[in-house]
Symmetry: none
Amino acid sequence: MTKTRREQAEWRREQLLDAALKVFAAKGVDGASVKDIAEAAGVTPGLLYRYFESKEALVATLLSERGFLPRLRELLTADHRGRPAVAVLTELLGAFDALLADNADLMAVFFSATQARAALAELVGEGQRLIGDFLAARVAEGELRPHDTATAARTLFAAVAVSRRTGSPLDVARLVELLFPHER
Amino acid sequence: MTKTRREQAEWRREQLLDAALKVFAAKGVDGASVKDIAEAAGVTPGLLYRYFESKEALVATLLSERGFLPRLRELLTADHRGRPAVAVLTELLGAFDALLADNADLMAVFFSATQARAALAELVGEGQRLIGDFLAARVAEGELRPHDTATAARTLFAAVAVSRRTGSPLDVARLVELLFPHER
Amino acid sequence: MTKTRREQAEWRREQLLDAALKVFAAKGVDGASVKDIAEAAGVTPGLLYRYFESKEALVATLLSERGFLPRLRELLTADHRGRPAVAVLTELLGAFDALLADNADLMAVFFSATQARAALAELVGEGQRLIGDFLAARVAEGELRPHDTATAARTLFAAVAVSRRTGSPLDVARLVELLFPHER
Amino acid sequence: MTKTRREQAEWRREQLLDAALKVFAAKGVDGASVKDIAEAAGVTPGLLYRYFESKEALVATLLSERGFLPRLRELLTADHRGRPAVAVLTELLGAFDALLADNADLMAVFFSATQARAALAELVGEGQRLIGDFLAARVAEGELRPHDTATAARTLFAAVAVSRRTGSPLDVARLVELLFPHER
DNA sequence: CATGAATGAGGGTTCATTCAT
DNA sequence: AATGAATGAACCCTCATTCAT
């Protein structure tokens, strides 16, 4: 049941990324030392440099490999036709909320890493665009009342994101009801 | 036109806080060194310690003295009776947006300073509560349609805050129109 | 009853020396900061430099002005003829002991200041020589038994000095009795 | 002939202690900087912290590991029966003198380190007690004339210690002859 | 006479990183 | 694959000292 050399290396790499994510989230990228991360992984700082070129590179890898933009995209571009928009929207925002919850540590790193600002902006922009597209399509089909879909998308996105950041839970159904009252 | 010693000291203190705010916002609290701040202020690092006990104390002073919660409260508790709710709301969110713009650096420090989490939560909570109170009052007077005022407040607040954070400008009038369409 | 300018200056100088002596004795010369001394004197560090050129100079002044070698010399060269040697010796060592007690702080500075080594050696050498001269004179007069007066002087001096340094009190009469038993 | 890692570490540790001992003795504990010590060891300051937690800890280690109290005890408690007390005493004080000479640097550190006062007092007290016990035993056996053995012990100890401290060499045989003249 | 704003050097210490083992 | 000895740069902070006020 021993691992092959290749597997062991892959496993260690992931373990280091896990440790880094946890430590970065807790102390901030600048506040966390390589030694902190190594200790969290039960390993020597030197070993880290066999897997990543630098602390900087470790952060970059974390943001690119562990980014949840792919999953967000997948979520928002699934085929929802045939089901009522309001129901879909509620479900969708709920899933988004859950996604953020699952990636709370990563979000913290996003906010902590100076160089992550661009990635964060990209994430937010893409998210808003995808939600906006969904709303526009439903308006075009006459299922939702005509409205400023771009602003609506931004508002919905923001509401979910901020509630995650500040800790107080958000009732997604109420949010949808607020913007689209009594809509079929 | 020379300054008295008292004035000079006061001025220097503010100058150091200004420099710290700028540098902290740009590099993060942990990423910015005392030397960075001193250089931004055109001063020796040692001088900083005549005005603040430590780097930590500098951050704390920044957050407590430069906090904009007082101005936010002032903004939201002003007497708006006699004017249409939608107009007031638009103006109010616009002012809030401007306030955040004016304090963009401070917001960044809030997000960077780990120990500021509590202050941040307080800020957000208070802001949402004040907006919620305003909405509820107007509903009671029959001027706004009955709705979930708490969720609405959170949504409005979030929309403004996130737009500030991500850089893309927000048309506040459109936001209000979205939630309260065609309301007189 | 106000002091003249001259008197005030003299008074302040002495006060600063007092404070320095106390602080140096407590923290060691290197361990004590100019700020420490100024605070002990209820004064600003800057003021210290109106009275002394540097911290270094302050130490030097302390060692030279407050040195007790003059008093020691006076003590040992007084005219003791006509009184029994053993009585004189006892009284003399007792006075020396008291002198060290009075100057405990200064002794501490001696041991703390690297540059004071020479002064300390001088002090010890002179003290031993003076006691030795006294013993030799009394041996010459047949009042004390012939013995190695130089070694005796060193031994007596050492016994008194070490007892001061280690805190346990010394019965001088017993010490004299030990070296010159039953001598008339 | 290369060292194993274990050996190298042990060797480096001792080397750092050696360097520290020398530098502390020369400049005093407060007067010596970590950089001074590192330079004396031909090493970077940072390395010091792999072997000792702090400068303070380095001093403590020096005092506890390099203390010569054990050797002193061994010296004074050896079995000297069957040999004339005066000869033994002479030899013993000579060995004590040599011990202090070997540990001159450590003595200097003792006097420089404020926190070493307790250790110093212990050292002195123990030394005097051991010598006193030896004298008392010999008096009881009738080999030495009855005398105040406690004071004698203190005097002998002090004479040796002070001569070490002030640099002038002491003829131990003369010292013994002084206190116990012509004794068989 | 006395203050306190300001500096430059240096304090002890941590850190990201390298490399022989 | 993993360690840990070693470095050099940077960290936060204190210090002795100066000088305008």
